[in-house]
Symmetry: C2
Subunit: 380 residues, 2 copies
């Protein structure tokens, strides 16, 4: 009985289905292998060495991180090759230097001469050489230099010539792919992402500058990329867990989502047509990533303890420790199916945001029993 | 120099201005004292014993909690009198019983006969008596029994007569007050909240049932209540820190907000008119509570390191570790004021949600120096 496996847990808590996790990882690894490109999994979603060990299985290589706490944590757990993929601030450099002194091979990213000079100065002060990737903007959604920005060669030349820094290559991220409305559009975004990175690399090489690393990636573009020639590695994180935003993008099915929030029914408001559960926004996060998609999933899609979707029940509203569950289409709720204490599992909009609300994963294999408990880290 | 006080911190991190915290606490305490009602501060915002000690100064009494982890934490730090103000689930009862066995005076809340019977059964099994408040719905926003629901007396009679439970009183929360558009409307909501609780208490007493506790509260209604006769205590949490949602409601000014996220500038996108900082939604939370108010503050209002608002700069978009800062009105940014590494402080939409992203507070007194570091708890 599935509920038996989970009945001893305090709600809300985070359940991770390892069988789905393995399938998701294997699927993207195989896809990228056929395109001849290495996967550098992003550690920002799972923030768990146990998950990342599965994601690295069968391949050499390192991981991507979004915080230095992740970098330190993964390094202390044996992962030496790291890219810190957020534009560097000067107050981060001493921690990065400390990691390098301890043996980490960590690359940082930047997109201005101002940053390059700060990094080089700190490298010289510390008597070390920071490996630097230049961030390229491929879709105007956030940071990076445009490929036609004259600063690209200025920064690259500086990094190549200055002491304290080494030019490692280029990196881009098609974050704009999250707004696509068709898988064809995502495939085009993947081309655009690749072209931006490969073109920036060509610009550098044409100027006799080195560009060993040509790093791209996002879960949507990695999933639908058709040709990655010229790219040396793909970064992605969400694909391991998948989530409802990815379902909405056509990246996966709801049955692929490996992560869910276990919650208990704590009340019924029959006249107003909602069940109250103990997974509010503190458990689900405030992420409303599906609000702008065709199918708005509220704060999450409601499944029973076995992980089966319950008609069109969603968490339609959330307070700190209360989740209001109602039918998206206004169908009557079969109240007797959900007595007080019933365990439900909520599939999240956004795996990175929801998992960040928890300190550990309760690992199941298709829900037969709690197979393991995996800690995760949060903070900076 | 204010920035000197904060320059040694890793960004993003959470800064708490103790002078503002003290002023906010003192202000609501004085207000409630004039109305003759006790404040039972809600521990769900700060999740910090250091903050709650300040909030309890000058008065006897206990606290409110939203999770059993808070209850255990505050109890272990010497606070015995607790209300767990979220409708109880059966899997929570063993932990509540354990607290009672250790000496806690903890009340729980419920709004159905089904729950009352579960609680009583567990109390008898454990050989103890659970103190129970009946949750009243005063505004239709979430949980609780309406005052005219026949179940109110059914549940009350059951709690009074059954072994294993004791009827402590009634509790309500005007969560709907967060949607008010004027302070006059909030004052009316405060009357409505009081009237619901007092009327439910009268119903119980008219049936010869005890009702010692008549508990109401929310930060907006507590701030604008004009008459709380019949109420025994007011619960509120956000008032200690205040936040931009409270500014939008007229509860406070932006200069009263005691909590901010310290962040570093990590990039400039001059053509697109935004500064990039290292406080993304992982630091600020995904809360967009001001989106439905007259003045949408994005993901937060941007101040300099001294806490002074920077014209109309807000965090207009957020990725996991990137906050995009732009001018609400589209004014040109004075780029030279914000070189890479500049420290900024972001006032949050919602104090509960933003503080939950952090493990500690860096305490300042008007920003002269880091006066203390206070841990906070998260999770369940």
């Amino acid at each position: 009985m599935p509920q038996d496996a989970l009945i001893e847990l305090q709600t809300p808590c985070l359940v991770l289905d390892r069988s789905k996790l393995r399938r998701n990882i294997s699927s993207l690894q195989q896809k990228l292998a056929t395109l001849g490109v290495t996967l550098r999994p992003h550690g920002k979603t799972a923030k768990s060495i146990d998950v990342m060990r599965l994601a690295l299985q069968g391949q050499a290589g390192g991981v991507t991180v979004s915080t230095l706490k992740e970098a330190e944590y993964y390094f202390e757990n044996g992962i030496v090759d790291l890219i810190y993929a957020v534009g560097v601030a000067p107050n981060k450099l001493p921690r990065i230097a400390a990691l390098i002194h301890r043996g980490a091979q960590i690359s940082l990213i930047l997109d201005s001469l101002e940053q390059a000079k700060m990094v080089a100065n700190h490298g010289r002060e510390q008597g070390l050489t920071f490996s630097v990737l230049i961030e390229i903007d491929c879709d105007g959604h956030r940071s990076g230099l445009s490929i036609d920005d004259p600063a690209l060669l200025l920064v690259a030349r500086y990094l190549h010539q200055a002491q304290g820094v080494r030019l490692g290559g280029v990196l881009t991220h098609a974050g704009g792919s999250y707004s696509c409305t068709s898988t064809k559009q995502i495939a085009n975004f993947a081309l655009q992402e690749r072209d931006a990175a490969v073109s920036a690399a060509a610009t550098l090489r044409a100027a006799d500058l080195p560009c060993d690393v040509v790093s791209i990636g996002s879960t949507p573009t990695a999933t639908f990329a058709e040709d990655l020639r010229g790219v040396t590695e793909v970064r992605a994180g969400v694909f391991m867990f998948q989530d409802l935003v990815m379902v909405g993008l056509g990246v996966c099915e709801a049955s692929d989502v490996a992560m869910s929030v276990l919650t208990s029914v704590i009340g019924h408001q029959k006249e107003r047509g909602f069940i109250i559960s103990d997974a509010g926004w503190m458990a689900l996060s405030r992420d409303r990533g599906t609000a702008s998609q065709v199918l708005d999933q509220g704060y999450g899609l409601v499944c029973n303890a076995a992980g089966e979707a319950q008609n069109d029940l969603i968490v339609s509203a959330a307070n700190q420790e209360h989740g209001m569950i109602s039918s998206r289409s206004g169908q009557a709720i079969t109240w007797e199916k959900y007595p007080i204490g019933t365990l439900l599992r909520i599939l999240p909009n956004h795996a990175c945001a929801t998992s960040a609300m928890f300190e550990r994963y309760f690992v199941v294999d298709g829900c037969a029993q709690i197979a393991d408990v995996w800690p995760r880290i949060n903070g900076w």
